[in-house]
Symmetry: C2
Subunit: 152 residues, 2 copies
DNA sequence: CATAGTATTGACACCAAGTCTCAATGTCAA
DNA sequence: TTGACATTGAGACTTGGTGTCAATACTATG
């Protein structure tokens, strides 16, 4: 079963209708690179209204078919979601994003909950840096500009 | 020395000029509650242009005098920054925000860096939940609506 | 298969947050 | 005091997203 059919099925299971517009948006999303904006999706879906594209993206977000990445600098982009809870490791030079789950934040969050007497619902973690390829590239081109770190 | 004078001094040290507009924006920022939008600041600074308010906020952000909080749901708000690197614990019910630093993410980030062969610049962590006061309130009013967790 | 009920769409106006331009003005070092 | 130049304000523009409402398309059902 193809990716698009799997997604269609999940949408049906939630009681939503399958329309040509939704199919087109999903197809466009599946064609995007590592991360993208709704604008990118709009540009590759002809014959689908702007509002419908935004509405479909929200639907995909609700169904955890896509997630959002907070880029260094503060822009929120979309990304096809790996299954379940995960975080992102973002290369500030080439923009590639890797998902990770292994590095578990839960103990920290639990300790925090106890200390602050909060009941915790969830958390958001993004890590920024430079991937191996970009690091090697950079050592050859020392004048490459640095980016500002959002999380100070 | 008052808060505003301290901030003014930091701006001067960076070689920026002190203007009436900047003074007004800083004063407005200092009067804001826990977190706020630029719109909130705009509304309490008469006689200062919109662009200037945004420009001053960016300056304050660069100087780490304010930071940004990613609220559950995806809105970025501003907040007066506690000194240095920290994270936020956000109550989804009443909106209060607490800073925390004690809960150290560095070891996790270092392990991740090694595993993924990334050079790490920084990270961003927000934790969402319900503060003690809201929890007690809620147990008396079980119909209170739940909010969606952004970071799933 | 026909159809009715209702979910969805598209066009468009609107909103929120932020940037850009450029002539006019303000700041401050000399 | 003045000159260099940093900063401002007004307003147009951009980007990302929502709300409205009549028209259309799905799909469960008969």
């Amino acid at each position: 079963m193809s990716d698009i059919e799997l997604i269609i099925e999940r949408i049906e299971l939630r009681g939503h209708r399958i329309t040509e517009g939704r199919r087109r948006v999903i197809q466009a999303v599946l064609k995007q690179p590592s991360h993208f904006t709704v604008e990118d999706v709009l540009q590759s879906t002809r014959r689908v209204g702007r509002a419908t594209v935004f509405r479909t993206m929200r639907l995909l977000l609700d169904l955890n078919i896509v997630c959002r990445v907070l880029l260094d600098g503060g822009n929120l982009h979309y990304r096809i979601s790996s299954r379940g809870h995960h975080h992102h490791l973002v290369c500030n030079d080439c923009g590639r994003v890797e998902d990770f789950t292994g590095c578990d934040v839960e103990p920290l969050v639990q300790a925090l909950a106890a200390a602050m007497k909060y009941e915790i619902d969830g958390h958001w973690l993004e890590v920024y840096g430079r991937c191996e390829a970009c690091r090697l590239l950079r050592s050859g081109r020392p004048e490459s500009q640095t980016t500002q770190v959002l999380s100070q």
